[in-house]
């Protein structure tokens, strides 16, 4: 048993921490990006490409490094620590790895190298107004017509569409006897006739888009993976991306802990540092407990994914359920301790709060992942069905 980071992981962590603390200070660069229209810095993206961060997780035959999930997670923890927003999760871990799981050899050869070197950015569109991450929530229709398909429907709360070249769309080509049947993936050019998109105003951490498809025509070659049968490979990609998102959340929680701990030791009230008061200590320790819970469930999930273990999905859902609950709580605990300072946008802590509220739901909230856990534990066979419902 060995819980230490490998030398590669230490190098990734140290170089990422060094670069991001220098190039992406929270109160200037990160805040400015958040305030900007697209939330994207081409310069920062280019630097990440040059450092080899973008293509890391893709196999070497496509120009990547073939890094393990744990290696990639080490980077994402640092991105979360610094509260950085880049299309890395959307383009590589979601769209890219879905193409890796589901695509033809030709598609993989055509698309993955440019995804890996950052020259092609993909958004990943699954969720719709009736929001959810399982197949029964996929209703956007893809009708087969004249050797191609016509897409109609709306995708909602999709990050990175505003900067993407293409959108990987999860659509429904038919209705089967279970929701997984009939799911098909499509590559759609962002500027395709009939596709319109806009960023939604509000307090989400990333720029979330509404994407409307009105008779959007795509050729048969736009299909990625098996027609009607894309859910299985898609779910594999989702599991990996979810674990990586959890790593980001762990990094952010770590920063919230350090920020709150430091503030408690330096803010003097009633003649003493406020960290002297047990009530304040409680919040700081709760953040620490939530951070470590998220960290260790995440590490187990990443390890199981890297080892290809059968119960990796269960571990991923465990990690996401824990992080989905722990991150928003930690953000609120940090607000309790920081009080007025935390409400001041110049201080920048609110940028983590926005991440917490957004990633609570992104790739599935705790309620969704707990259902996956229950299913994996076969609880319907163990636990008696509910009785005494208030409903008539």
């Amino acid at each position: 048993m060995d819980f230490s980071l490998t030398s590669t992981q230490v190098m990734i962590k140290d170089s990422a921490r060094d670069f991001l603390s220098r190039e992406c200070p929270l109160r200037t660069v990160i805040k400015a990006l958040d305030d900007s229209e697209t939330g994207f810095s081409p310069d920062l993206w280019r630097q990440m490409v040059e450092m080899g961060w973008v293509g890391m997780s893709l196999p070497t035959e496509y120009g990547g490094v073939g890094s393990s999930f744990m290696d990639v997670a080490t980077l994402f923890e640092e991105l979360g620590y610094a509260c950085v927003t880049v299309p890395l999760l959307s383009s590589v871990m979601l769209a890219g790895r879905t193409i890796l799981e589901a695509g033809s050899s030709q598609q993989k050869a055509e698309l993955l190298p440019s995804i890996g070197n950052g020259s092609r950015i993909l958004a990943f569109a699954l969720t719709e107004p009736d929001y959810g991450w399982s197949p029964e929530f996929v209703g956007l229709q893809a009708r087969s017509e004249k050797g191609g398909y016509v897409l109609n429907g709306t995708k909602l709360f999709v990050p990175d569409v505003q900067i993407a070249d293409e959108v990987l769309v999860v659509a429904r080509t038919s209705k089967g006897d279970s929701p997984e049947k009939g799911i098909t993936l499509f590559r759609v050019d962002k500027n395709a006739p009939g596709l319109s998109h806009r960023i939604l105003a509000g307090w989400a951490a990333d720029k979330m888009n509404e994407v409307v498809f009105k008779d959007v025509r795509v050729p048969a070659s736009a299909v990625v993976g098996p027609v009607d049968g894309a859910w299985a490979p898609l779910q594999r990609a989702l599991d990996g991306a979810t674990a990586i998102l959890c790593s980001y959340m762990v990094g952010s929680m770590q920063k919230l802990f350090e920020m709150t701990n430091e503030y408690s030791q330096n803010r003097i009230h009633f003649g003493v540092p406020i960290g002297t008061f047990q009530r304040v200590q409680d919040y700081v320790i709760d953040i620490l407990n939530n951070t470590d819970s998220a960290r260790w469930t995440n590490y187990e999930a990443l390890t199981k994914l890297d080892e290809g273990m059968a119960d990796a999905s269960l571990a991923v859902s465990t990690a996401k359920a824990v992080a989905s609950q722990g991150f928003p709580r930690s953000a609120m605990d940090a607000h309790h301790v920081h009080a007025g300072t935390g409400g001041d946008t110049r201080y920048g802590m609110y940028l983590y709060t926005k991440k917490a509220k957004t990633y609570h739901s992104y790739l599935g909230d705790a309620a969704y992942h707990k259902k996956r856990i229950a299913h994996a534990l076969d609880l319907s066979k163990q636990v008696p069905a509910g009785r005494g419902s208030a409903r008539p």
Binding site: T127, P129, D130, Y131, G132, F137, L156, F157, L200, A201, G202, W203, A204, M208, E210, I268, H269, F270, F277, R279, V280, P328, A331, M332, H335, H336, A339, G340, G342, G343, D344, T345, R346, Y350, T353, K357, T358, H360, S361, Y362, G364, D365, A367, Y368, K371
Partner: protein, 400 residues
């Protein structure tokens, strides 16, 4: 015990009169646009209208109905006050933002007769807008540790320092300001409570960018000369004097009506059938019921305080308890909203958000609910003192 608000014939007759007057005076012209969700988005024209309306209401004696007419009030009874509060709440108007109205408490108790005519009366009549200046960058809940200094210079004081988190929009006429008057004096016996014009030379302010946009400022004092006539109560009595205002601000007054109409409106929207998905996996009913219960509790506590305050019953822990319930409701309801609505709760988009941006505002507001007028934890500290649990013995300050 009677929870129902029953009204006398006299109240119903009065209600007709109030309603008729409000119909004629409380409707902002449509040309001025929609009343904004957040104070900082109030246009100058809307603000001007709001000030005029407030003044009209004040001159009718209805801004502070139970204050004596000698000080600009209506000289009315609690029965009238209840009707006025219920009826005015039916009209959506922009805020003229006069948070310094809490000064009424200390002016009434501690000001000289001359000061009452000069400051209390115009305030009660709604002719002046007052900002409330307590907090400083280094002094939040530890208010007694403030540093803004008033140095004696003949019959005047020269004030230097800064305040932050000062609520208001556009401008104030007067600043209700707590400062240090005796830098060598012991804690709690070294402060002075001032009520002075906002346009004295050396005073400036700028907006503070916060997570919510109700409107808060930094206020700077650069060698501001303030005459002694603006000092209320004794020169070093400021801590005691300000307690009356703090008591007012800290939940003692309570209130009628639904504390968090957002949940009620969300439930009503639910029943009518909604366009967007809700409860993507969460147990919607239980989340909504929990939010309903919380909101109900907060409203009941506020109502209890309203009754105690207006029947002049002694309150001990009830004020801070009311404050705490308000915070707890806003913080926990935001959690329920996130569980129920996911990303729908984070957008103010007219199509995909809910209740005209009120849900998204509630998400931001939760981070701000921990503090302001004290804090979530300080409320509990005060409650503990008031029930005898701490070494610090404390009773509620006088407010009327």
């Amino acid at each position: 015990m009677d929870f129902a608000m029953t009204y006398t014939k006299e109240q119903e007759a009065f209600r007709k009169e109030v309603r008729a007057w409000l119909e004629a005076n409380a409707k902002m012209p449509a040309a001025l646009g929609k009343v904004p969700l957040e104070g900082r988005d109030t246009t100058r024209e809307q603000y001007t209208w709001a000030r005029q309306y407030r003044s009209k209401l004040g001159h009718k004696g209805w801004l502070h109905p139970m204050m004596p007419p000698k000080y600009g009030g209506g000289g009315l009874t609690l029965d009238h006050d209840i009707v006025i509060k219920e009826e005015t709440a039916r009209y959506k108007v922009p805020s003229a933002s006069s948070p310094g109205d809490v000064a009424i408490a200390y002016l009434y108790v501690y000001a000289t007769e001359e000061q009452k005519q000069k400051f209390l009366k115009p305030l009660v009549q709604g002719d002046i807008v007052v900002w409330q200046l307590w907090t400083e960058p280094e002094s939040g809940v530890d208010l007694a540790s403030i540093k803004t200094l008033a140095t004696k210079d003949g019959d005047d004081f020269i004030i230097n320092g800064s305040k932050n988190y000062i609520s208001g929009i556009y401008e104030a006429d007067y600043l209700n300001t707590l400062v240090v008057t005796d830098p060598k004096g012991p804690r709690h016996a070294n402060l002075g409570q001032f009520f002075f014009p906002a346009n004295l030379p050396g005073i400036s302010w700028e907006y503070q960018e916060l997570i919510t946009r109700s409107g808060q400022h930094f206020v700077f004092f650069d060698n501001v000369r303030v005459s002694r006539e603006y000092l209320v109560g004794g020169e070093t009595q400021g801590w005691r004097v300000t307690q009356s205002s703090l008591e007012m601000e800290h939940g003692t007054e309570g209130g009628l009506g639904n504390r968090e109409p957002l949940i009620q409106d969300l439930i009503a929207g639910w029943k009518e059938g909604r366009r967007n998905s809700l409860a993507h996996g969460a147990d919607a009913e239980e989340q909504l019921v929990d939010a309903y219960i919380r909101t109900k509790l907060a409203s009941l506590i506020a109502r209890r305080n309203f009754w105690m305050f207006n029947t002049k019953r002694t309150q001990t822990y009830q004020g801070p308890q009311n404050e705490w319930w308000g915070r707890e409701t806003r913080i926990r309801n935001a959690e329920h909203l996130l569980e129920l609505l996911g990303p729908h709760s984070l957008t103010s988009d007219p199509i995909w958000g809910l209740l005209d941006g009120r849900v998204e505002l509630a998400q931001r507001g939760a981070s701000m609910a921990t503090h302001g007028n004290g804090s979530y934890e300080i409320d509990k500290v005060i409650m503990a003192r008031r029930v005898g649990l701490s070494r610090t013995k404390e009773v509620a300050a006088p407010t009327h």
